[in-house]
Amino acid sequence: MSVTYLEAIREAQTKLLRDDDRVFIYGQDIAGKFGGAFKATKGLAEQFPGRVLNTPISEDAMVGTAIGAAMEGMRPIVEMQFADFSSIALNQILNNAGTQYWRTNTSCSITVRLPSGGTKGSGPFHSQSMEGIYSHYPGLVVVTPATVEDAYTMLIDAVAIDDPVIYCEHKYLYYHLKAEALPTEKLPIGKARVVRPGRDLSIVTNSAMVHEALAVAQQFSAEGIEIEVVDLRSIKPLDTETVLASVARTGKLLCVGEAFPWGGVTAEVIARVTTEGFHLLDAAPARINAKDTPIPYHPNLWTEHRPNAKTIAAKARQVLAE
């Protein structure tokens, strides 16, 4: 038996619906035969009648409704069709959900699932990575699972958290990533993971870029250069300790992110390492992101727009040569 990243998300939701009466799923076209744009909820409406609900095409209303339900003690999961459209719900997420606990001392346990990141031919409105924006605001927890195992356990943990959680699932990994079985162990949200140990350079990254980084590490290993790859997993809270420990081992840092280059996760990681771990650095830290333009439709342009194994390798060589 094997489980894809997408199936792990569906399995996690099945378990959540089964184990906890307070959980329901709210999204566009997720019930009925369609089962959601990516089929993440396929069959769940039949299995759990009245708990997998179709919504109007209004992200604003979807999140607003979920916040109200959470106030009444429910634990809703909101499925956005694409992360890009969650911007329509920014007011509800940032101003209402994010601040609720601090304003009212009541929890706002909603989970918003964002199908994130690029796939070939998806263009500017169906490819974006929003984790940097949401992490900027207080009151939110932001996670970006990069493995089948994390997709499963982090979604279950997200629903259990009393704060609003932005769960960024990567669309490219939906079908590309497979595991033998669902995990029996988990690493909690807030912890990063060293997915490949190394001694020459730390690549700190998240989501689909973890796999690009691993490909680069594999390639360099043949030359006797050992790259350590750190999967952040959770963007907020950010596990600075694990990152610093990695830089302490290697002395060199390259941050890779699929999001746009201005500010964001890679900039935050570098800011933390240079302020808290300047003495650990044997070279100027580097970062590589998508280009600072809207995401192109054309598959060839898209491949060049985001960091890929080739461009990451070139940047890694630059840092290694310092």
Partner: protein, 416 residues
């Protein structure tokens, strides 16, 4: 302010020889300036009338600064091809080479309104392609292209050095493998790992102290000059005295007397100031176990050799037994090293880090010396006298005059 010499960066105005309204011819010397090398004249770029003088006497101006204006006819101005200076470049940041990460070249597109920006992040840094030095002419600070080069120590390497109390001198044995031969943290750790297996013992406190003093002193431009001295008068004088002073004490006393006459020779240059001591206290290097002690003889210029002898002997004895107090080693302005006791003829000893001068005395040896009077070689006891000095404070001429004076004094030692 014209560039009056290759290494000239700025100059100070000594005199202004013209007034506004005065007629001047081309290449007329109108302002006298002093650089670190010489006094030179600034001449007019072309004929005309002095319109305005902005410069002030005693003011220091960088090359390229405006000192004043000459009003010239168009014909004159054209003939001498002088134009008004270009205003400083506005967008200096764009001129900085090699800012790759943030260097996304913003290029206005040619289409439509032209208000969109295309960003090309793939542009590679344009640095380190040539071996020549580029000097920014716009008057702003040059921006280094990156953390490269053999002399570069990364934050990590610096932190590790600080932790282990290493200095750059300790890293001399490491051939760096980093960019342009810099020492990377791995080079440092490999080096440390390599010496780990070797026999190591903790150096004595005195050894550590000498090492630190020599390293600090070596940061200065040190030079040594030398001259032969005939020791026979000293040896004859010594035979008559009781107690008997050693040759080093004669040298010390002669140095003190010479310094009383030429006190600037021992001045220490700190920042823009030449620091001179009130009293002429001279140290003497004494070999003790595992290092050197330098007791200081106070007011050596004012005390006769006879009176110095006993005090000197006591200090040397205390030094050999390493029983000197801090007061007895502090405050010297120059020192004497009698390296002749090791059978050495010549040396370039290093002055103490807080002193400018060190007088060295080589071993006395019988040698044939030409006598003009008798027109033949005569046997004499010759020794080499060296003077090591901080070349920032003193030049070969000053060092030579001091040394010649010491030779003179040693020729007539009964007066010391």
């Amino acid at each position: 302010m014209p560039q009056l010499g290759e290494s000239m960066a700025e100059a100070t105005i000594v005199a202004i020889k013209v007034q506004p309204g005065e007629k001047v011819s081309a290449d007329q010397e109108i302002i006298e300036v002093e650089t670190d090398k010489a006094v030179m004249g600034v001449t007019t770029p072309c004929a005309g009338e002095i319109a305005k003088i902005d410069a002030e006497v005693k003011g220091t101006y960088a090359v390229g600064a405006i000192l004043g204006y000459v009003e010239a006819s168009d014909a004159d101005a054209a003939r001498f091809q002088k134009r008004a200076p270009q205003p400083p470049k506005g967008d200096v940041a764009k001129e900085i080479p090699g800012r790759e990460e943030e260097s996304a070249k913003a290029v206005p597109t040619q289409n439509g309104s032209g208000s969109h920006f295309q960003v090309d992040e793939t542009a590679l840094p344009s640095v380190a392609t040539g071996s020549h030095f580029q000097v920014d002419q716009s008057g702003v600070l040059p921006v280094p292209a990156g953390t490269k080069g053999a002399g570069y120590l990364s934050p990590r390497v610096r932190a590790r050095m600080a932790e282990l109390q290493l200095t750059q001198a300790d890293l001399a044995g490491i051939a760096g493998t980093g960019n342009a031969g810099r020492v990377t943290i791995k080079d440092l750790e490999t080096f440390l790992g390599g010496i780990e297996g070797q026999t190591a013992e903790k150096p004595s406190a005195i050894r550590t102290g000498v090492a630190d003093a020599m390293r600090r002193s070596w940061t200065r431009p040190l030079a040594t000059v030398g001259v032969s001295v005939c020791l026979d008068p000293v040896l004859q004088d010594r035979a008559k005295r009781d107690p008997k002073p050693g040759p080093a004490l004669y040298a010390l006393r002669a140095l003190a007397v010479a310094l009383a006459e030429q006190p600037n020779a021992a001045a220490r240059l700190i920042g823009g100031r030449a620091i001179r001591s009130e009293s002429i206290d001279v140290g003497v290097a004494v070999e003790a176990q595992d290092g050197i002690m330098v007791p200081v003889v106070r007011d050596a210029d004012k005390t006769s050799l006879a009176d110095l002898t006993t005090r000197y002997a006591e200090l040397v004895d205390l030094a050999r037994r390493r029983r000197l107090t801090t007061e007895q080693t502090a405050g010297g302005i120059a020192s004497v090293s009698n390296f002749g006791t090791f059978g050495l003829d010549w040396g370039t000893p290093i002055p103490l880090p807080d002193q400018t001068l060190l007088l060295g005395l080589g071993a006395g040896k019988k040698a044939p010396v030409w006598s003009e009077e008798k027109q033949q070689f005569l046997p004499a006891t010759q020794a080499e006298l060296t003077l090591s000095f901080d070349h920032r404070s003193l030049d070969g001429g000053g060092a030579g005059r001091l040394l010649q004076r010491i030779v003179e004094l040693l020729a007539d030692p009964s007066k010391l």
